[in-house]
Symmetry: C3
Subunit: 372 residues, 3 copies
Amino acid sequence: MVATVEQLAALVSGRLVGDGNVAIRSARPVDEAGPGDITFIENERYAKLLRTSPASAAIVGPHFRSKRTPVKDTLAVIEVDDPIAAFIMVRKHLSGASKARWVGVHPQSWVAPTALIGPEAAIYPFAYVGDQAVVGEGSTIHPGAVVGDRVRIGRDCVIHPNVVLYPDVVLEDRVEIHSGTVLGGDGFGYRQVDGRHVKVPHTGRLEVGSDVEIGANCTIDRATFEATRIGEGTKIDNLVMIAHNNQVGRHNLLCAQVGIAGSCKTGDYVVMAGQAGIKDKTVIGDGVVVGAQAGVHRNIPSGQQVLGSPAIPVREQRRLFQMIARLPDMYKQLRELTAQIEAVSAILPMTPSHDGTVGFDDGDGAADPTGF
Amino acid sequence: MVATVEQLAALVSGRLVGDGNVAIRSARPVDEAGPGDITFIENERYAKLLRTSPASAAIVGPHFRSKRTPVKDTLAVIEVDDPIAAFIMVRKHLSGASKARWVGVHPQSWVAPTALIGPEAAIYPFAYVGDQAVVGEGSTIHPGAVVGDRVRIGRDCVIHPNVVLYPDVVLEDRVEIHSGTVLGGDGFGYRQVDGRHVKVPHTGRLEVGSDVEIGANCTIDRATFEATRIGEGTKIDNLVMIAHNNQVGRHNLLCAQVGIAGSCKTGDYVVMAGQAGIKDKTVIGDGVVVGAQAGVHRNIPSGQQVLGSPAIPVREQRRLFQMIARLPDMYKQLRELTAQIEAVSAILPMTPSHDGTVGFDDGDGAADPTGF
Amino acid sequence: MVATVEQLAALVSGRLVGDGNVAIRSARPVDEAGPGDITFIENERYAKLLRTSPASAAIVGPHFRSKRTPVKDTLAVIEVDDPIAAFIMVRKHLSGASKARWVGVHPQSWVAPTALIGPEAAIYPFAYVGDQAVVGEGSTIHPGAVVGDRVRIGRDCVIHPNVVLYPDVVLEDRVEIHSGTVLGGDGFGYRQVDGRHVKVPHTGRLEVGSDVEIGANCTIDRATFEATRIGEGTKIDNLVMIAHNNQVGRHNLLCAQVGIAGSCKTGDYVVMAGQAGIKDKTVIGDGVVVGAQAGVHRNIPSGQQVLGSPAIPVREQRRLFQMIARLPDMYKQLRELTAQIEAVSAILPMTPSHDGTVGFDDGDGAADPTGF
């Protein structure tokens, strides 16, 4: 699709500066854009890139003009409050209306007679929907996805290819689950009996709140008795593991390869960076930030930022990292001091007022009380 | 299903104290149980929760009465040796007999003409069973699972949805593999030839012993020549990686996101906590416990518990963690000592018996032998 | 299949020493080989194993004879330059010609009418090929694999069971993707608006170069705007995560459970050991080696080897590990020095030439300038 800069400015409710008749064919980032393209500048630090860019138009922020960045006369500019959002809208517009979504139950899928499929839902080939499962209005079950018995999926959910939902999983509305993720599997719980690990049956379930998005190849286990829960609006990256009985709060961001052991609880707006690990039964307060590769082994109060393994407040950890880096110097200084004290002790017995004994430590870790 | 407390006491061979005629509809943990529910107390520490619980009955341990914990008169109590096991039995009973298991080969599956499917086996829609594969009596191949050529699956195994078994994998009896797990893939082995990584063919196989359970989205590679092996009774959590040629012992517990590099060997009853990593060719003795996020880079003798990266015995590691936490104090103390020794050296030249030189270290890390 | 040692020597162009008429039935590693087997010795360090091996023949390296290792008279020996490569060739020969590859589009697959399937391609049951997708000549789409709309797959690629390729993924020639891996998923990008995480649409794609091999259950996300790229000849182990916008170089080796955050760039011939993590936007030079469990948080120049979290050059890190191990000794020595300095300070006031004050640090971290 082709649009003029004027049409695009109207689309994003922006202020046009320059020639509105320039024809734009596609929207590309500034280092890739050429003639006929519209690009964008995220903030004014990158504005100078526009001087040399062959792009025909650019979307910029509100402070762009005040900086008086010189740009080519031929560059048409659209000023908006949020350049990235406007760029994404323009890009979507230029790539053409996406084709109408396919809906229906494909004959090469398998849907149990007792399952309920809502209106406008789509069940693709090789998708499997079990007994008494419910797929809400407008939801999509992509190829190879498996929806277990009694699973309940809300409205407008997207279950990507080869996802597995074990029996009794509950997804609220607008939940998106990426490919290969396994939800509601058995928790890892055993009791040792006569030298063998005997499985603790997991008869609970997994409940996922509205507007949750879960990345690819994650695993979230169901509860032993009641429910593992993922709070509304929480976003989870790829290859994340959340064990049985966890109660994850709302609007958390859990980055790739994070692992949370069983029966933890997180507050709202918690952020965990990549490869962090959380010990079982840990309670993490609202707004906590856990650093990459951190190992959290005790409760974290709200608002704290932690780092390291074992994890401690980030400022303390950074200080320890600095101290560890200085260890070779500390070790050298310790050797020097030892030499100096030996030198001093060699002098002292020579002083006339001294009785000749030197009260050095006898090695038991305490100063010798009888030395002087 | 509804049962009286008396019927439930008989079911679990427990001793009834109180009114056996109370009707029970469901079994729930103590913080969720209400009227009409039976709950349980894992040990006497939690017994006080029963004072206020609205539950109608409780399963308790053998020492409950001797503690004389006051409970409501209306609470019916069943005394047993193992409250959790009894509770699970009661819960299963009250949730009704599970429906009869479906068996047979579904017409929407694909089974090679040369495959052998045992009696009472179940092959679900979109399951694929390759040439000369064998599925033992009573085993279940769930939707989307792929059983490669010449795979041999024993009796009463459960292969959950979307599992992939590469050719030649062998599973003994009562093995359970959770969704998304990939068994018997190529090992990661290359030789560099003329600047390119040329693959070392992996013509070995993977053998999994009886009563092994493997969680979701794990990967276990087959051997270069002979067999990667997982010993009888070992239990593996989600997202665990076990590389080619490993020989994992019996009754191990490997927690989530553990990674074991190639050609290692573990004894029996080894436990590895979450996100631990093991270097290739490492030998780990019987009963070893590897801490969370540990990095094991050398052999560990039987019975040892290790922690940290690089991993060392847990008591030594805890001491090092304490020492690291004290580093800022040590650093401060070192500065103070340095100042003190400078002060002392400033005095010493004033002493009449001294020649005025001060034998401080010349910075080469050794005391100056010519100082005095 | 059975072959004589003479026939096998001819097959691998090797030099026969001993009886060429011995019949060989199978090829096995030295600790597993028995009568009727041929084995191999990777290098002369293991040559002594041949003294006691019951194998009937062995493949050895060029320096074997010069070492004059005594072996059984009955052991036939084939000398070659590359014993492993020759052994693999012999093993493949003895296991018989693999059966002809099946080709075609299976009726239980689903292929969009607008998809293009090249000659000699194989589309297995339950594989799904989307709109306008292209599968190149000789490529194989195994059971349960999902090829999204507009995906382009080159020649002689192998897509193992249950792999998912999101729309617009591009694979060049001879790419092999192992089971359960998800390529081209949405990147993990959100902007917080009114307390909710609003998704940044990912309209870019993923491009994978020729001769790349990717292990099982990996995830590689597509770019926000342009392309995430994996360079030619790079090999990736299992459970690896590569985030959006990454530009991975050529001939990299990325071991299991590595995680690379968004928008990083690696040079050629980079090696990352297991469980290493890379911070977003990091640039890693040619030939860099990142140690196991390392946490890389800044750019690494070409050729450097790094270790630890935070990662630093490996020699420095090893020194720090040694220093940390000595911390208990350093702490003890510090206590001893403190005791000694106290002892010295107790003497010094007694010296006649001194005014009686002691200039010790007042605790502000600097020597007291007024002390003397």
